[in-house]
């Protein structure tokens, strides 16, 4: 009778080795994939622009409030925007966003002015604000179609830094 004890022990060893390898592979793959950063600032900037479009326009016309704009008003109040990132605990919470509405030579801005010039920085695409510009035509108060530019920029570089 040929003893098969050694044979079963040998095969069991390889079963365990393969089991451990596959388990480590699956866990590693999940950790690698899920821990990779996901930068959604582009979408956030686009949604911010859409909010501004909804604020500036009504039925295809520019709202009257934007013609009579003065220093007593702010885009945050008029458009119900909250341009602060409370994930930052210091004063940089208010420096993470920038929005602007431009039409007929008028410019209405809110947030951190310093972000806009960095939008199309040529030297590097890493670690700069993500910006979004949308253009649309709307009717002015005289019923004439004019071009409006909506710009939004989001900083949050620390959380999205590329190494």
């Amino acid at each position: 009778m040929i003893s098969k004890k050694g044979d079963e022990r040998l095969l069991s060893f390889y079963w365990i080795v393969i089991f451990v390898i596959v388990t480590i592979a699956v866990v590693s793959a999940v950790v690698i994939f899920s821990s990779a950063p996901l930068d959604i600032r582009g979408i956030e900037a686009s949604l911010l622009s859409d909010s501004l479009i909804n604020c500036v326009s009504e039925n295809g016309r520019i709202k009257e409030v934007f013609y009579s704009w003065d220093n007593t008003k702010s885009l945050e109040q008029v458009c119900n925007l909250y341009l602060k990132d409370m994930a930052y605990l210091d004063e940089s919470a208010t420096n993470q966003y920038f929005v602007a509405v431009r039409f007929e030579g008028r410019e209405i801005k809110a947030g951190n002015d310093l972000l806009e010039p960095m939008c199309n920085a040529a030297e590097s695409e890493k670690n700069i604000p993500k910006c979004n510009e949308k253009k649309l035509f709307l009717l002015d108060k005289e019923g004439k179609l004019i071009l409006i530019k909506i710009t939004s920029a989001i900083r949050k570089i620390e959380k999205n830094a590329v190494e």
Binding site: M1, I21, L38, I43, D50, G60, L136
Partner: protein, 152 residues
């Protein structure tokens, strides 16, 4: 000789060798799998936030919607009637000329396609195609569907 047969493990060794080769192949595929996952994780993009994929710069429809309203509420140069009224009165040639003029005025900044479609017969009564490729928005005016699609 019987003892040799009892103690011979040649067949058992052959089976074990099969597993060694299988383990090596599994290891290779495992490392390949991890390599592919690490590449995929670097190119993670923002997909499926809005179902069909959403990328920077793509008009999500809000701007197109307001521009459609603006076009319909604007007046035709020739007879001072709103374009919406011209559609209701079936003056499609007038609509086409006025909208072409409007879209031509802004074509450097924004590209738009505009159409008026008969919902009953299914044909296009006005179809201005400037090669835009954005999200289409439309609304119904009577038995007509009026739509706009813009890209920047």
């Amino acid at each position: 000789m019987l003892l040799n047969r009892i103690n011979s493990k040649k067949a058992q060794t052959a089976e074990a060798m099969t597993w060694v080769v299988a383990t090596i192949i599994i290891l290779i595929f495992t490392f390949l799998f991890l390599f592919v996952v690490s590449i995929m994780s670097k190119s993670k993009v923002e997909l499926s936030f809005f179902g069909s994929g959403f990328f920077e710069g793509e008009d999500a429809g809000v701007a197109s919607q307001q521009m459609l309203f603006a076009i319909l509420n604007s007046k035709s140069n020739s007879n001072e009637k709103e374009i919406k009224a011209l559609i209701e009165e079936a003056q499609y040639e007038e609509v086409r000329q006025s909208v072409e003029e409007i879209l031509g005025k802004f074509k450097e900044e924004i590209k738009c396609n505009f159409f008026v479609k008969d919902l009953n017969r299914g044909g296009y009564l006005v179809n201005i195609n400037n090669g835009a490729d954005g999200e289409r928005v439309s609304l119904n005016i009577g038995q007509m569907e009026v739509g706009l699609e813009c890209s920047q």
